[in-house]
Amino acid sequence: MHPFVKHFINRTIVLVVTLFIAFNISYFLLRAIPTSAVDTMLNAIAQMGQRLDPEEFMRMRQTLLELFGLTGSPLDQYLSYLRRFFTLDFGASFIVFPRPAREVVLRYLPWTVGLLLFTTVISWSLGNILGVTVSFAKNRYISRFLENLAIVLYPIPYYVFSLALIYIFAFLIPIFTLSPATMPAIRISTLHDLLNVVIHLMKAASLPAISIIVISAFGWWFISSRNLSLVAMTEDYVIYARLRGIDVGRIRRDYVLRGIMVPQVTALALALGAIFSGALVTEYIFAYPGLGSLLYQAIIIGDYPIALTILSLSMIGVTLATWFLDTFVYYLVDPRIRYAR
């Protein structure tokens, strides 16, 4: 069998099993929640829902009871949850009742995916190039500085850094307006509309994007690529290249950078898997109209359909993204998989 076919089948089996495990984790977590919690939730909804008519309240109640497994036989519950998990169909949302939660989530999704796809790819490339370059750098001051900067940035989560950024930009250097972004209707008929959307997007996304890129490019990716290159530089094939007098630039590109690509692509796969849930808090802090802000609204009134849709979506997203990258990008990067021995 061609090694790629084997690789593909292996990865796909792992995909299916991981999805199944993910589903079970989510199922059993919900079952582990004490049923008394459901009453508290219902009370909370009843309290704030003066405007709810009795019929709507009953429907919400029904959804909650079903989600927490208080109706039907255990097997029914399992199967119905299985269907809901993979179709993302968790019933009507509470915040925009009676619109289905899936529909609401999908409307916010492009914003989140767009932001994270953009920032992840940018910071991955930036961090890797920087890491490899610095491990070759002759100037010790610059590399020491970048190294220490990275160590300081590495452990800080995006959202804490975002708050620091907000503080800096709102008070010290007020160049960004901090007005919450609203979702423009994506109906583009003229060039003017398009321009408006782009400008709006830039405004809303610049600060969250900066906080993600700074932390992940100069912190995470820089450190991992620098560590990997330091190890790669002691590899025999790199030393042999230096003995042959190959130009430093070539060694950097075709030997070291090429060598760290295999582990770094796996890491990228994991990072890209997080594009559905990677920066929920940051999005909320900057009032960026993505899943984070939606989730915050959902949490306030205990909107389980929305929360569960986001959970399943991010679980399925992660596994699919990892599978895709592991299968196809790996194939391109590692000739040992591409060609049979």
């Binding site: 099993v17 991981t18 495990i21 993910a22 984790i25 989510s26 977590l29 919900l30 929640i33 919690a37 508290t40 939730m41 491990s135 070759f136 750098a137 002759k138 010790r140 590399s143 160590i151 300081v152 452990p155 800080i156 989560p157 959202y159 804490v160 708050l163 620091a164 907000i166 503080y167 709102a170 008070f171 901090l178 560590n227 330091l230 190890v231 530089m233 002691t234 994991l270 898997g273 997080a274 559905f276 849930s277 990677g278 929920l280 808090v281 909320y284 802090i285 989730l295 949490i299 306030i300 205990g302 389980y304 929360a307 569960l308 986001i310 959970l311 991010s314 679980m315 992660v318 990892t322």
Partner: protein
């Protein structure tokens, strides 16, 4: 005798660690933070109540220690909130690390020594938990368990996720140690498997367990903060996260109440950096290939 040599080894390790500048800075930061958090023991009981102080006062150096960092919009002393929040956050981090990283150690070791189908099962379980998004899972859990949360149960909730990274790390370390020659020789020479595990494998794993432990503290404090910002922590208690929640909730950011905003941000950043510096020094010590030196 045995214990004695162990202590000597431990002191030697500390000595060589303290040669790293990063380790010393990290220890200094954490020591200062712990000292700060100990002040919380002296906090006056009324600091928890709202409106016992004037609202929105900037820091005043002249009057009592209560006002040294100003007050919040709900009339509380920022200084007392801060030291208590710090103590609680550190406590959450430490408890989660105690629970989560040890579960990780156990599962990682079990995964490392098991073979065949059990091993495959362990790998899939660990990898799934590593890959699956932690925050959304914790949000759903916390959403349901909001009512019954205390400083001591949050670590339990966090541990549902926290064990996975340590387990993965411990497994790979255990595997690489067991593939080394001295283990093969030990097992050929008829030493019992249990004592091989205890005396030959464990010393290696324990070093990495320490970095896992520290990293779990960092992770747990970060996660609690994230949950709290969404309003899913114990809002009646003070943690660095809930402090940020109230900051955001009262729009302190836009009203310019910097004395309320900065303490939690600065403390969080210090916690992360302090612990991370220690963990980096330990892992550099354990993995000399990363000590570098520019070629």
């Amino acid at each position: 005798m045995y214990i004695n040599t162990r202590i000597r080894v431990f002191i030697d390790v500390l000595k060589s660690l303290s040669r790293y500048g990063r380790f010393r800075v990290g220890i200094a930061i954490i020591a200062i933070l712990i000292a700060l958090s100990l002040i919380s023991l002296a906090s006056p009981p009324r600091y928890k109540q709202w409106y016992v102080y004037p609202k929105d006062r900037p820091p005043q150096l002249t009057s009592s220690i209560d006002m040294i960092l100003g007050t919040t919009t709900n009339g509380r002393s920022v200084f007392w909130i801060m030291v208590n929040a710090l103590a609680n956050s550190l406590c959450i981090g430490l408890l989660t690390a105690l629970i989560g990283s040890h579960i990780g150690l156990l599962i990682g070791l079990l995964a490392g020594i098991s073979r065949g189908k059990t091993e495959l099962g362990f790998i899939l379980l660990i990898d799934s938990f590593v890959v699956l998004p932690g925050l959304p899972i914790l949000i759903v859990l916390a959403l349901a368990l909001k009512q019954s949360m205390t400083i001591h149960t949050i670590p339990l909730i966090l541990s549902v996720i926290a064990w996975a990274w340590p387990a993965r790390n411990v497994r790979s370390i255990a595997l690489s140690v067991m593939s080394r020659d001295f283990i093969t020789i030990a097992s050929f020479s008829g030493i019992k498997f249990r004592s091989i595990l205890l005396y030959e494998v464990m010393p290696y794993v324990l070093g990495w367990h320490l970095t896992n432990f520290i990293n779990t503290i960092i992770w747990a404090i970060g996660m609690e903060t994230a949950l709290a910002i969404f309003g899913l922590s114990i809002l009646s208690e003070d943690t660095l996260g809930t402090m940020l929640y109230w900051v955001l909730n009262f729009n302190a950011l836009f009203r310019g109440l910097w004395w309320w905003i900065l303490p939690p941000i600065v403390l969080l950043i210090l916690i992360f950096i302090g612990f991370y510096l220690i963990s980096v020094s330990v892992s550099t010590y354990l993995n000399p290939r990363l000590r570098g030196g520019v070629a």
